[in-house]
Symmetry: C2
Subunit: 517 residues, 2 copies
């Protein structure tokens, strides 16, 4: 057997059995090896940004890494923007990036580039197999790093390491190191703060935004008066009956206002919030001056265990379920008339089936979702974690690969959607149960707002040419059709609701182009 | 005025007056500055891979750099694969990459990343403005590097450098340093080799593949018996009446065979050829053992001057024009029947208008073009220089921006075309005179060949799923329509010829989906 076979075997031995891929010549031995392993599911993306975002969506829902297969430096480069998002989500992922044969690198052949330099900014672990003999060690190291940090591992696979021969040997699943314990003094400080009566905010992230851990956090909040926030969690279980932490607003004034009263911040998987961007004369840190920050637990800890310890210390376990109101469809009137983002939010809130997964790249369009989320049927919400646009369509595809029995609803801004529009083809190829809703506002609306933030209200020719996506208008139904996804257009709330019902009641990919008023 | 205004002024003072852009929040002050400069033409790409490839196509044809505007690390990352190609083409380009305000970087806000690490592998020069005060110096340095190395300059522009105030000051065009002289001993060695009667190959690259320099090289070859080769030149002027150097074949056996007789290689803008990929047991260097390599001139030299000096030394100036045969349409019978790549090549060869620009990302489909090229009307040929797929559609767009009066014909493989399919929208937005011919073979055909090269002839499920682009079939007419480009489908040679004539006789973007038999 060769090194490529060994790599596949290590992945499979560790239950990594989905490979999102876009291969090239230097990976042909790996492709041949994958072809000998029918237990590995290979999912083709027609662009590497699709590959990495799909791997992100998959791992957020499957709670285990997928592999990706990327072709040399340029193939990795194409996947980097969504690796950036996955890095911010702390998604476990094992990227396999092919490289030229070791002895070929010195020739500086056309496709040669410094893969390590490209990989490091978006990876938590970067390594290189130097021969077939050390592929097992490197692959296991990559897997362990991905699973325990957790995060992005990028393993560079030179062609000669892939084609080199190795002896067969039995493989077993690696033993993951145990998670670190939190510092006792941090736990004591958190308990003291929560008992002190000081205004305290708890920032939840990572695993702490799942329903079970939120329930524990909700009781802590109920018992102590603390406020719960979430700081761009990768997967947030929301909906009726679930504890609902507040997200830190994107808008800097709103964020500062939301946090101005707090004297103590306790971080449990979340980070101390900072502004997304800098603005002249405005703060970077969003917590008020003098606010004490207690770094109780990071993403590397067992956050459920940390919350359990905190609840035990505080004696909040006995409290009743900290629920929000249950959803009933009749609470919300069906939207009518103009097709606005709010109308879409209401329509989706009414119709969302229990257990649905929302892949959210709605950017400026879905403010009302947030408000309605506690009243929707219980669902998973996957947001844009790193701010790099172009994740939504393939993120939805990856989530659907992980959860074939759940409906995935992608809330997709049009400008962002164009970045990885090729992901629709993967949805069609794999017959994934994804309903994509495109908010067609025909512009980079968030940037129009930001232009006003810098004092420009009257846009001239150049600004309009860069911030508007008109002349020509994108025709999303044709784009979807071109990639084998059925689609229809809605121009009123009534039309949208009808298409939404149709889209939710069928299986397989479907796209609604919501032409916003 | 602010730093962003200063940056625009420096670019304009140096005749950089086209900016291919996809901005974000951190670049809003730069967008506002561009909006105050109507003499700067801003061209929006709906994805950064479009932006960088368009800047490449523009500069190859305009012989001067365009600027690009990219949003932070992820925006740069999206543009890197085509920067890789531009780097290999030695295309002059000035990338402006926004970054967070300097003081904001320490907060590690969601969109923060190590931009320098991302930029270096694909740039010849990387710099960062540290305040508004040093933007002029940094921008001039970036421009000089781009114009003289020549190559890719990446200038990182923190938001506070963009919004910081500077005094107005008069700007003038920078003085470029003079090009280096070639080493006299290299010139003597080249002259001696060409006079010696030894089998000698001249490798032309960069500026040396334009018609005027080719004419000098052709006379040198005619007078000395040397063979002319080109090593992936960025812009190759071909067609009837022009000297036609041979390209080094991609296939390694063919390449070795083509070069096996040579005792001396003289590099004039080209490099000593190496194989694109490594294959077990096959050579990396393509020149035979013992072949002497004379590095006469690199891309940084004045290659026309070098060829002139060589011609003077060798006394070949007096020779008659070293022409190939003139093209006459009747030499080629109109293709009929099955729509094959060869039929398309013949149809285009017959119909190509003089002065056309071919943006070639046909990969496996256009072998016959090469053979027919000397018999076509004189034209410019822009190939894929770095092997990173996804350049063709936006490369054509950029060339059309540079040369609005010339027809651009994009020969586009389907798999590669999907990488930056968004470029069609830019063609429509700018009403660019581009005829795109998609070779729809519904697979990564080059990889199917490479799989056979590694000994796999029977593809299993996983290999087919990764190498074939079927199930569903892409519908390029719908994709084009979705982005505002008119399109039609041809399934026979006759249908193709008819659509080709229609496409060539109109102005503005048009796409032919050639469904290959």
């Amino acid at each position: 057997m060769n090194g490529a076979d060994r790599l596949c075997d290590v992945l499979l031995a560790n239950d990594v059995n989905v490979c999102f891929a876009n291969p090239g010549t230097s990976e042909m031995h790996f492709v041949a090896a994958l072809d000998r392993k029918p237990e590995m599911r290979c999912v083709l993306g027609l662009f590497e940004g699709v590959v990495t975002a799909a791997a992100d969506g998959y791992a957020r829902m499957a709670d285990k890494p997928a592999a990706t297969l990327l072709h040399l430096g340029p193939g990795l480069a194409n996947g980097l923007a969504n690796l950036h998002n996955a890095r911010r989500a702390r998604t476990p992922m094992v990227n396999v990036v092919g490289d030229h044969a070791t002895y070929h690198l010195g020739y500086d052949a056309p496709l040669t580039s410094d893969i390590e330099s490209l990989a490091r900014p978006m990876s938590h672990w970067v390594g290189r197999a130097t021969s077939a003999a050390n592929i097992r060690a490197k692959a296991e190291e990559a897997y362990i790093a991905a699973a325990t940090k957790p995060g992005i591992s990028t393993l560079i696979l030179p062609a000669d390491a892939a084609w080199g021969e190795v002896e067969e040997e039995p493989l077993q699943r690696v033993t993951l190191p145990s998670r670190p314990e939190v510092a006792p003094e941090a736990l004591r400080a958190a308990v003291a703060a929560l008992r002190s009566g000081r205004k305290t905010a708890i920032f939840l992230g990572g695993r702490a935004t799942r329903a079970d851990t939120l329930e524990i956090a909700g009781k802590i909040a109920a018992g102590t008066g603390a406020a719960l926030f979430t700081e761009r969690a990768p997967r947030w279980q929301r909906g009726a009956g679930r504890v609902f932490p507040k997200p830190v607003p994107y808008n800097i004034e709103l964020a500062v206002a939301a946090l101005k009263e707090f004297e103590t911040a306790i971080l449990i998987g979340g980070r101390a919030p900072v502004s997304f961007f800098a603005y002249p004369g405005k703060p970077g840190r969003l917590l008020p001056e003098g606010c004490e920050v207690i770094e109780l637990a990071g993403i590397e800890h067992d956050l459920q265990h940390v919350l359990d310890m905190l609840a035990d210390e505080l004696g909040t376990r006995h409290l009743g379920a900290a629920q929000t109101g249950a959803f009933t469809a009749r609470e919300l009137a069906a939207p009518t008339g103009e097709l606005t983002p709010a109308a879409i939010s209401v329509a989706v809130a009414r119709a969302l089936p229990e257990g649905a997964i929302i892949a959210d790249e709605s950017i400026t369009s879905a403010g009302r979702f947030l408000e309605l989320a506690p009243h929707m049927a219980p669902h998973d919400h996957l947001p844009l974690t790193g701010g790099s646009i172009g994740i939504g369509i393939p993120l939805a595809a990856g989530a659907a690969v992980a959860c074939p029995d759940r409906k995935v609803v992608a809330l997709q801004a049009d400008g962002s959607g164009m970045y990885t529009v090729q992901g629709l083809w993967t949805q069609a190829r794999e017959n994934l149960d994804v309903l994509t809703i495109v908010f067609s506002n025909r512009g980079y609306s968030i940037l129009k707002g930001e232009m006003r933030n810098v004092g420009v209200n009257d846009f001239g020719h150049n600004a309009r040419r860069m911030l508007e996506i008109e002349d020509p208008t994108l025709d999303w139904c044709s784009l979807a059709k071109g990639m084998g996804v059925e689609a229809a257009r809605a121009e009123t709330a009534e039309e949208f609701t009808k298409l939404l019902d149709a889209g939710l009641s069928r299986r397989g990919p479907y796209l609604i182009e919501a032409c916003l008023a």
